[in-house]
Amino acid sequence: MRLLRTRLIELVVVLFGISIITFLMIRLIPGDAVAIMLGANTEVTPERVAELRASLGLDKPILVQYVDWLAGAMTGDLGVSIWTRRPVIEEIGAHVWPTVQLTVFALVLGAGLALPLGVLMARLRGQGWDVVLQIGSVAGLTIPSFWLGIMMILALTVLAPGVQMLGYVPFSEDPLGNLARLLLPSIALALPILANLARLTRSAMLDALQQDYIRTARAKGVSERSILFKHALRNALIPFVTSVGIMAGYLLGGAIVIEQVFAIPGLGRLILGAIAERNYPLVQATILVVTVAFVLINFVVDLLYAIIDPRVRH
């Protein structure tokens, strides 16, 4: 309960700080929404520009704009998109699912495979297979996912021409089409995570296997299988869970690139587009939502510690 309270206070402080930073940052970028809206080639007079700016509320001092925004945000009104005039919450709602799906798939795929692979690598340490897996994991870490994504698209075009693999359809509309289209991007996104977590698991396992309590367990005749999974893995899980939590955050960033390559209309595309269009309220709100997600994920990770390690509970 106390944990929950401190976390909530932290969340509010973080959100407040982030809101100020994003508010200033996006306005520091030169060029505003009106200039982008008109393009570089239309015949506009300065008066027209001024009228347009006024109608969007961009002519007020930044401080006034911020206070206006904050007052709205307090009551749950995060404003409307400059372009479409729709509430930004609706816009985010329309973009959040592809990203959530992509993140969860990649995380499950990456973390799910990393654990057995890491254990296997620790078990095979020094043998030929360990070297192969090590090389594979370095490759997985260093290959940029956008490159991998494009290569996978190209390969599939040759291997299976005619397959619809770009874009996104909601699960509710076409469940199989949804899964089929998310398969490649999830793999592209999961690979670096898989490599990273597998290496981490390997070293954490090796570390644990050298501890005294393992020697004790061996001495009292515990089976090798039980030593590996019950004694060593359980201890190796703590750094693993921490990393998964951090990566969930990074996945949202990785998704920006992958969404671009696979033409998936997710949060990454939304933010990128909003920044390019200087759609201030949308950038502001999207970053807030991502921040909340990040903080919440870390909170869940803290709770997981308590489950894995009884000492934390006290």
């Binding site: 060029g31 200039a35 982008i36 809206m37 372009w83 479409t84 199989l176 398969l183 209309p265």
Partner: protein
């Protein structure tokens, strides 16, 4: 049990692949197009950025007039018009049977409301200056509109082609059309999934009977060029409209892909700030023209897909002056250096070239840099982010810039605002009394021959002594699956021929 489940899952996934393949022809009457940019709203009077206009112009919306395949003014919602003796009153007869997408008939009151909407200060439409000559518009009866001008205006009919007719209830509504556009065109708006797609469906009540042939068009928004290409090759997309030479060359020769091309109206340019050194001196501007080798630019930056061009696109056969008539278009380093010596400036002339952040313009800027550095200049490239570029451009905060302008079929449409003293996009701060006189005359002269003579002179004034070194006109390409028939690529990038597009064998 677990194994059986995995097997089932695998079968399902494979099954999806199979059915997608199988189903492709069933969607065949909806054309899947892939475009790069996400539109910033769909109100035709408010958002004039190309990402928006290409999707709504000629598909969802129509004007009283239109620009046909030969780049001439043709009837659209107005089936005919008469002009008064003094050329100041136009009377338009509306085509019969035209309806908006909600089924309401198109009446004179809608046309009047649309024109007023564009001219209203409250809507703040950037298109307002196109109707600057309009005194008032009134409905004579349900199908007749009378427009009175303040003074005769030769470009008026061309300008009307770009003014979409919208239902009268939107006259004072700034927001309604941004998300849910409603016009009279062959396709009606169906769904917009931001960053995903914009789907248009056939307008069943379209006044031009038998059209459109497609059941719908879906514009998929695909930011990544490689992804668009692969999508076309794999057949997921049927059309990549208005692509550049680099993309087209990669797609050429792919199985089942057809490429159409045309010379486009848009031109690349070096714009110079004539309000400060070094380009305040006309001799320096002329020297820069001599220093450029336009053929080399076409070869090096446009992959040979383009032509050197003057102030007007060679696609405008009725207007464009042959570049052979512009002496400064003949590349000569000696001549450039001689002019610099005459100008009395010390070499090298240092300046910064502000570059539009687009791949083709970057390429061109680098070639230009090399050519100019060879002829007494010392050029530094500055490639900012797009917002910064637009701001610097609009505020004339540059020595010179490299960019691309969309051009227009009507010489007045862009000459006047771009080069006349005080023109709204005269960011060069150029002022030339002789040219101003020509441009003013070009507006009020109504006979084609008179206007051609005037704009011939204007082109000659601008080509070597103006604030712009005109570089190239590129080839524009559209790639489609070879089953897509009846589409014709337009030099002004309009997608209006989607109306006659269909699937064939």
């Amino acid at each position: 049990m677990k194994k059986a489940f995995t097997g089932l899952a695998a079968a399902l996934v494979l099954g999806t692949v199979g059915t997608t393949l199988h189903n492709a022809p069933a969607h065949a009457q909806v054309l899947e197009a892939a475009v790069a940019g996400s539109p910033a709203g769909l109100d035709p009077h408010i958002v004039t950025a190309f990402t928006s206009t290409q999707i709504v112009g000629g598909t969802i919306y129509e004007g009283l007039t239109t620009i046909d395949k030969n780049l001439l003014v043709a009837p659209a919602l107005a089936e005919s018009w008469t002009v008064s003796e003094d050329s100041k009153t136009y009377t338009f007869k509306l085509v019969s049977g035209a309806t908006f997408h909600d089924g309401a008939p198109v009446e004179a009151a809608d046309v009047v409301a649309s024109l007023n909407r564009v001219m209203s200060a409250d809507i703040a439409s950037p298109l307002a200056s196109r109707l600057a000559a309009v005194e008032m518009a009134e409905a004579v009866d349900a199908s007749t509109v009378k427009v009175t001008l303040k003074e005769p205006s030769a470009p008026f009919l061309t300008a009307l082609a770009s003014i979409a007719i919208v239902p009268r209830q939107f006259e004072t509504d700034k927001e309604g059309l941004q998300n849910a556009p409603m016009g009279t065109g062959p396709f009606k708006f169906e769904e917009w999934q931001p960053n995903g797609f914009i789907a248009l469906a056939k307008h069943e009540g379209y006044w031009n009977a038998g059209l459109p042939k497609l059941d719908g068009v879906k514009f998929n928004i695909i930011p990544e060029s490689a992804t668009r290409q692969v999508g076309l090759i794999s057949g997921q997309y049927g059309m990549l409209p208005n692509i550049d030479a680099a993309t087209a060359l990669q797609l050429r020769g792919q199985p089942n892909v057809a490429i159409a091309e045309t010379l486009e109206l848009a031109y690349t340019l070096i714009g110079m700030n004539v309000s400060k050194p070094p380009f305040d001196n006309p001799k320096v501007r002329e020297a820069l023209n001599y220093a450029l080798n336009r053929d080399e630019i076409v070869q090096a930056a446009l992959f040979g897909a383009g032509v050197p061009g003057g102030p007007l696109s060679p696609a405008l056969t009725e207007w464009a002056v042959d570049v052979a008539e512009f002496s400064c278009f003949a590349h000569s380093v000696d001549k450039a250096k001689a002019l610099l010596a005459e100008a009395g400036v010390t070499e090298p002339i240092k300046f910064t070239l502000l570059v539009l952040p687009r791949q083709d313009i970057r390429d061109i800027a680098q070639v230009v840099q090399a050519q100019l550095n060879n002829a007494g200049f010392e050029v530094e490239l500055n490639i900012p982010e797009i917002g910064q570029f637009v701001q610097d451009w609009r505020n004339s905060n540059f020595d010179a810039f490299a960019s691309i302008n969309s051009g227009s079929i009507e010489p007045d449409d862009y000459f006047y605002r771009t080069f006349r003293t005080g023109g709204s996009t005269n960011v060069f701060k150029y002022s030339n009394a002789e040219l101003d006189g020509l441009l003013d005359n070009g507006r009020v002269a109504l006979e084609l021959a008179d206007r051609q003579a005037i704009y011939n002179d204007a082109q000659k004034v601008l080509a070597c002594g103006g604030p712009v070194a005109f570089l190239t006109y590129g080839q524009l390409f559209t790639a489609t699956r070879d089953t897509v028939k009846g589409y014709e690529i337009m030099p002004n990038r309009s997608l209006m021929t989607l109306t006659t597009t269909e699937f064939g064998q």
